[in-house]
Every structure is written in C-alpha cells, then in structure tokens.
C-alpha cells in the first residue's frame, strides 16, 4: 500500500465521521463475533457505540459516568475471555482513568480495546476541559500498550476489524468531526506500517489522525505554488512506531515536520524525535498545541488559532525548507 489514490480530490473530499463508522463496524462485527462486548460511560450517543447497543443490548454495558470503574470492568470481562471495546471521550479514557488503564488493563496485558472518539482540539465548543491534548503521551509510555490513530473513516474501519483479531491492550484514537476521507473504499491495512501517502524530496511531513488530510493539502499547495515537494507519512501507528518508514524518508529529505492535534510534547513529535535521535538525526519542527490548553471554538477556527490548518502547515513547511536547515 502507499500513495494517495488519484480518485481522492483533496480540494473537495468526501467527508465522513470516524465515530459513525466505528459504531457501524462494531455493530457489524457483533453479529459474528459473539465474544465482542462494548462498554460506554453515558456517551453512547456521542461515541456512536449506541449503534452496537441497539443491536446487541445484552453485550453492551453502560457503566454510567464512571470511567475508572468502566476500565476495570472491561479488564474483568477480558480476564474471562470476552473482547471488550471501551469508548468515551479521550480525556476521560486516557486522563481520568490512566491508573486503571495502566495497572488493571496493561499490567495484566488484558485484551481491552480503548477507542475514545473525541480527542484533540477538534472536539471544539466544549473547550479545554474536554479537549484531550496529552493522551498520546499518556498512553504511549505504558508497557504493553499499542497506540493507533486512524486518519479517516475507512482506516478506522480497517483498524477496528484488525484489532479484534490481535490480543492485548490498544488505544485507538478517534475524533469527533465529520472528516475528509483520504483512503479508497478498497483500502487494505498493512499493520504496524505508516503509509507514505505522497512522495517528495524536500521535506518529510509526519502527520497523524485528522492532521494527515491537512498535511496532504498543504503538500499539494507547496508543490503547486512553490515547487516544494513534501513527502507525507500518515502516522497511524504511534506505538510501536514504524521507524523504518520514517528513517528512509528522513534520509531522503533531510528534515521532518510533525503535525498533530495534541501537545507538541510527548506525542507524535516526541516519538519522531526519539527515533530520529537514535537512528538518523535531522532537523525537526513540531506542530501541535504549543504547550497551551485548547479553548472553545469551531474546529476549523481552532485549527487556525493553533496553527494546525492546511494554510498554517503550508507556511511552516515553506519557512522550514527556506531556512536551509
């Protein structure tokens, strides 16, 4: 797999909410996978686990507003052979229930899939109290945990199907928004591989989640307007990180820009720096919330405010290349 399909129109992409596809895929898988159980903490209508709950009420557990309890309950279900998928907002999954995820799920290496649907600043109007900008860092440091960020609805579907077959704890980070679809319908997931969606030689842009679409659009404009060719890697697998793809690209381009709807500390930017430092040091620039909390606003306005919209990424990339570093 690789390279963006020519059928994808970056200027006017089809849009679909990742969480809707998440709910639909779970509901479909529930028919054949009888050990699949789903837990939510009073957000089933937001996370769309309701789509599973409506079809399989006996295998859906609404734990109420008790995220810590929910995580350990899921661990108990996994300990007797069930395959629990747990959803809530990312802040409550990774933040509020961190100790439970670490001690009861990951330390016991239990087969619990944590799929928060509202991560990063695109959660929007509810503001900083609900916007998780630390969850990748929090989850990435726990032994046994796998951390995955799908870029769109199609990739979400493939990740959920694949994850059901792979034992062990995973954190699969989704977003709230109705988001651009950048993968074709026949997309096949290559597990643990971060896809190069666009080839280039002037810089590497490592983007994750909804930022991958923004990076692709920025790269298109860099090429069209400035003749700058950016290589874009869709960093789906944050942990274990796909070091090979990163290093090959960095060897070619000599500089790496990271983009995430997350703190610029400890998440994708952190992972990229760790790998580059160890294997192939090159200049890096990290885009994310620059040690600031989020705030209320419409997602697109927030992306602009925090420098994570396609135009801001374009400008940063152009300046980075022009700096000659």
């Amino acid at each position: 797999m690789g390279l963006l399909s020519p059928a994808i129109d970056l200027e006017a992409p089809k849009k679909e909410a990742l969480r809707n596809r998440f709910g639909d895929t779970l509901a479909e898988l529930g028919a054949t996978e009888t050990d699949l159980v789903v837990l939510d903490a009073d957000l089933a209508c937001s996370t769309q686990t309701k789509r599973f709950a409506d079809k399989f009420p006996d295998r859906f557990f609404n734990q109420g507003i008790s995220e810590a309890d929910m995580m350990c309950t899921a661990a108990g279900l996994a300990a007797v052979g069930k395959k629990p998928y747990v959803s809530t907002f990312a802040l409550f999954a990774a933040g509020r229930a961190w100790d439970q995820v670490r001690n009861t799920i990951c330390y016991s290496n239990l087969n619990v899939k944590i799929v928060p649907t509202h991560s990063g600043i695109s959660l929007g109007e509810d503001g900083a109290s609900h916007q998780s900008i630390e969850d990748l860092a929090l989850m990435r440091t726990i032994p046994n945990m796998t951390v995955i960020v799908p870029a769109d609805a199609v990739e979400t579907d493939r990740i959920i199907r694949w994850s059901l077959q792979v034992p062990g704890p995973m954190y699969i980070r989704l977003v709230r928004t109705n988001h651009a679809v950048i993968h074709p319908d026949d997309f096949e997931l290559e597990p643990y591989k971060n896809q190069v969606l666009r080839q280039g030689s002037d810089l590497t842009i490592c983007a994750t989640g909804e930022m991958t679409y923004h990076a692709l659009l920025a790269a298109k404009h860099l090429s069209e307007r400035d003749g700058i060719e950016a290589e874009v890697i869709n960093c789906t697998f944050i942990k274990p990180f796909d070091t090979d793809t990163l290093i090959k690209s960095a060897q070619k381009t000599g500089r790496v820009l990271t983009v995430e709807s997350h703190q610029f500390i400890g998440g994708l930017g952190g992972a990229v720096c760790e790998e580059l430092c160890a294997h192939h040091p090159v200049p890096v620039k990290r885009l994310g919330t620059q040690d600031r909390f989020g705030q209320s606003g419409k997602p697109d306005d927030l992306f602009k405010e925090y420098g994570l919209d396609p135009d801001s990424i374009y400008a940063e990339a152009k300046a980075f290349v022009a700096s000659g570093r």
């Binding site: 159980v37 006996d58 295998r59 557990f61 734990q63 109420g64 008790s66 810590a68 309890d69 929910m70 995580m71 350990c72 309950t73 899921a74 661990a75 108990g76 279900l77 996994a78 300990a79 007797v80 052979g81 069930k82 629990p84 100790d99 439970q100 001690n103 009861t104 330390y107 016991s108 290496n109 239990l110």
Partner: protein, 307 residues
C-alpha cells in the same frame, strides 16, 4: 458509628445464616490458618519487606474461600468454570501466596523469593507470574470493578462460576469502590460475593480517625447490596456467610457483601490492632517473638481467651 460491636451483635442478619455448619472441620481450618500465618511471616521476614498486618487479618477468610467455598483446581488453572478470586487489597499478597502454595498453585520452593528480583511473588499479585491470580491488583480501589467485569462475562458465558472479591476497609476510601458498588446491583449480579476486611486500621492510623467509614455494611445496603456481618476469624460464620451469600443473591437478584470484622495482625500479640505493623517487616527478635506466638499451645490459648 464504628463497627467495634461484639461478634454476636455483628451478625445482624443472623436469620440469614444457615445454622448447619456442623460438617465443617473447624480444627483443621484453624490449624491450616496457624501454619499459613507462619508462612506469611517467613516470607515477609526473609524479604524484610511486605505487609504482615493485612495478611494476618485476612488469612482466615482465604482459608475458607479456597478450602471450602470456591470451586477451583490448581491442576487446571485455566478451567473456564472455576470460581474467581480478586484480592482487591493487593497488599495482602503474602496471604494469597500462602494459600495458593497450600493448594498447589505455587511451589513451596518459591516461598523465600517474595519481593526479590525476577520472582513470581511480586509485592502485589501479578497475573502474569502466578496461576490463580486472574488479574493484577495493588493500586487500591480497582479490584471490585474488575470482579464486576468478570461476573458480567461469566454470566454471558452461562458459566456457573462465582466471583469473590476481597476489599479492605481503608481501601473503601477510594471513590472507585463506590462506583463499582453502584455498578454491581445495576447489573443485578448474582454471581458476585464481595468481602470487606473490616479491621479499622490503615497505614496512618485508625480508619475512623482518618476518613471515617462508619457502618460500611449500611452503606452497601444503601447502594443496593445484600449485606451479611460476621466475625472474620470465625470459620463457621465465614463459611455459613459464604454459602448464604450465594443463595441470597439468587433469591434477590442482588450481589452480596460480607462485612468481616477482623483484627489487623491477628495471631501475633504485638502486631494485633497496631497500625504500625501495616507494612513493616519484623526484625530477627520480633520474628522469633511472632513465631513463639504462633506455636500451637500459645496460639490456641490466645484464641480461646479472645473468644
């Protein structure tokens, strides 16, 4: 209200307890408990680290659970329909290891390795290392939720297995205990029995002086549980309550909590009711004095006097 009432008064639901525990060999159970108390002290003394007070407090409960109440088989640790036990108060690990050694889950040769590098006997129970530990515990407040999850899963599997979970009274200062306490009746769990080791002491002192827990049983009743109150060192009461809990849950569609009045450090005179022995290993002199207390003549004489 503290729960320091005399045992007879504790059995508030005495009518709920079946009288007939005449087939129980109390002397054998008592003797096993005495020996396992020595094993607990051996482990903690060798490691020079661990929690004697809490382990001695709950060992009589574990003897009854693993010996009389639970369906399990050390030769088949993966038996799908085995009863499950979650030690939510994970610092009682030495007591759990002692009973698991007695039943053959852990080899006796591992006894001196408690808390040593690369030992299976971690400071707090870890499922990765020990058969018979189904989920790792240690960070307080989490085990009861896990037990709820196990009970939900076993019910979905149409398994006859029953889940037992032992929580501490101090542990019940963790909010998550009360999240799980709400959750279990909400799911109408009848295959879950919780026990609370009510010894009224925590690391820094008396639970009632630090964050009063009052009548824990009344709190669980208010949260929708059946509640039994027993003397946690009386084998007949423990076993009768265990049997009654299962039946009562079936009759009522509710989980059952057994509040067990226990003595922290039970069996070692100078450790009894002393918060200072929560997480401290005895030195050589103290270890010898403890062993002397656990010799049959002294031990049984003291038990007799206590009753």
């Amino acid at each position: 209200m503290t729960e320091s009432a005399p045992p007879a008064d504790l059995i508030k639901n005495a009518k709920a307890l079946p009288a007939d525990t005449t087939t129980v060999d109390v002397d054998a159970l008592s003797e096993l408990s005495r020996k396992l108390r020595i094993d607990i002290l051996d482990m903690i003394f060798t490691a020079q680290s661990g929690h004697p007070g809490t382990s001695l407090s709950c060992i009589d409960l574990l003897v009854c659970l693993f010996g009389e109440l639970m369906q399990h088989d050390a030769k088949r640790p993966d038996w799908a329909d085995r009863d499950r036990f979650v030690l939510s108060k994970g610092h009682g690990a030495p007591a759990l290891y002692a009973i698991l050694m007695h039943h053959g889950y852990i080899g006796w040769e591992e006894k001196p390795t408690l808390r040593q590098v690369n030992s299976n006997l971690q400071g707090h129970p870890a499922s990765k290392y020990v058969d018979g530990v189904d989920i790792s515990t240690g960070s307080l407040g989490q085990g009861l939720s896990a037990a709820v999850g196990m009970a939900l899963g076993l019910r979905l599997n149409n398994s006859p297995a029953h889940v037992y979970c032992l929580i501490g009274d101090g542990e019940s200062q963790e909010g998550q205990i009360w999240e799980a306490a709400l959750s279990a009746p909400a799911h109408k769990l009848t295959n879950l029995t919780a026990l609370c080791d009510r010894n009224s002491l925590q690391i820094d002192g008396n639970t009632e002086a630090i964050k009063p827990l009052g009548d824990i049983g009344a709190k669980f009743e208010a949260f929708g549980w059946n509640v039994l109150r027993i003397d946690g060192h009386d084998f007949r009461q423990i076993i009768a309550a265990g049997h009654r809990a299962k039946a009562w849950s079936q009759e009522t569609d509710k989980p059952t909590m057994i509040v067990c009045q226990c003595t922290k450090g039970k069996g070692v005179s100078f450790m009894e009711n002393e918060a200072g022995w929560h997480g401290k290993a005895p030195n050589a002199e103290q270890y010898e004095a403890a062993l002397a207390d656990l010799q049959p003549d002294v031990y049984y004489q003291r038990l007799k006097e206590a009753n």
